[in-house]
Subunit: 229 residues, 2 copies
């Protein structure tokens, strides 16, 4: 096993997208977890799907839970970073919420595998995934805070509706799942439709006015992230 490290020659040519062996493992695991199921997938099967030995896989991830945690973390971290930045923003709250909805929906729509489908796994309720659950609840709180500001502006009492925009984004997951099962009409779901819906459920009616300023906000944010790299 001493020669089973990451520097070991590959068994075969690269089968999976990704700049590193860890990224290839994550891609293979994402496919297997979302198409076969988490409990039904072994680390051996993941290693086979990458074309590496199981011992090499363990060099990157000690357990199957670690792979799942890494995958889940990536579904939340970028949206949370944006939400943290937006929380201190001076733009109108409706524009900021619209921008967050678009960014988050775009990410869930464009990821290669429908990872959000793993959020409901009973395995996530264990202590192992408490850090992920906390991150996700932070994001949920950010959505709620922004939604409450929008409701304030509309003169509505802070109410039950404030929890809805976060849930609206998650509908992307179910829509993708149905489309990928080949059930029903193909979805033409766009992140703009999700962002519109996230504002409409709060009672905001002039959603068409939000798309352009939200786009400006997101472009500036993307530039600042690129600059920081």
């Amino acid at each position: 096993m001493t020669n089973a490290g990451p520097g070991r020659p590959r068994l075969s040519k690269q089968r999976r997208p990704g700049p590193t062996a860890a990224a290839e493992i994550l891609d293979a695991a994402a496919e297997l977890f979302t198409t076969k199921g988490f409990a039904s997938t072994s680390t051996r099967q993941i290693a086979d799907a990458v074309g590496m030995r199981q011992a090499s896989l363990y060099h990157h991830f000690a357990t199957k839970d670690d792979i799942l945690a890494a995958l889940l973390e990536r579904t939340v971290s970028e949206a949370l970073a944006l939400a943290d930045t937006l929380a201190d923003g001076t733009e109108p709250s409706a524009v900021r919420l619209y921008a967050l909805l678009r960014f988050d929906a775009d990410q869930l729509l464009s990821s290669r595998w429908n990872l959000g489908a793993l959020y409901l796994l009973p395995e996530l309720r264990t202590d192992r995934f408490a850090p992920f659950r906390e991150e996700r609840q932070k994001l949920r709180s950010r959505y709620r805070q922004m939604a409450e500001l929008v409701l304030d502006e509309l003169g509505a009492d802070e109410d039950i509706r404030a929890g809805l925009p976060f849930r609206i984004v998650e509908t992307v997951i179910n829509e993708r799942s149905d489309t990928e099962s080949g059930d029903g009409p193909g979805s033409a779901l766009a992140s703009t439709a999700i962002a519109d819906a996230g504002l409409r459920v709060l009672g905001w009616t002039t959603v068409a006015e939000l798309a352009a300023p939200a786009e400006v906000l997101l472009a500036a944010y993307r530039r600042s992230v690129d600059d920081a790299r």
Copy 2:
């Protein structure tokens, strides 16, 4: 095995709610599937949770898939029966859609186990579950048809929004899952809030006017179902 039929004396007193042994099996399976996971649950564990022999369980359900299919079917059948009735109704389309949203959300909120969390299981993509997927797609189409009528009334083109009310109801599943994990603030999610949201995403703003006539419609429907029994 000849004496392993349903008439066999119980190993112990009834552990599960339900008028029949099949109902008890379904309750136990629903708990295990939603809290341990479908792939991680064996028919042996289900039989143990009911307090019956595995051979007796097989008398009621030949496979674990059959148990899952029975559970899933129940999450859709009542809402679909209502939707079929409402499709021929003469009440305003917004009232009919509101009534369907309330009824469906109430059902998902009040079921003993959060069975909707099983909709995203990769196992459901197999042929075995094609009948269930078809029923669910029928319900989805009913929602879409009613949403299109509402959009017509609002003078909006039939558009991408027509798919949203069906998705709004499913948000109940994620909200329950988070609440049951003990994550974040407890949800005070009510079926009226879901119904409001299902109309608001279409651009309908005067949702408060829909609750009362929808309630009348649902009361009449429930009476007709009771009478037919």
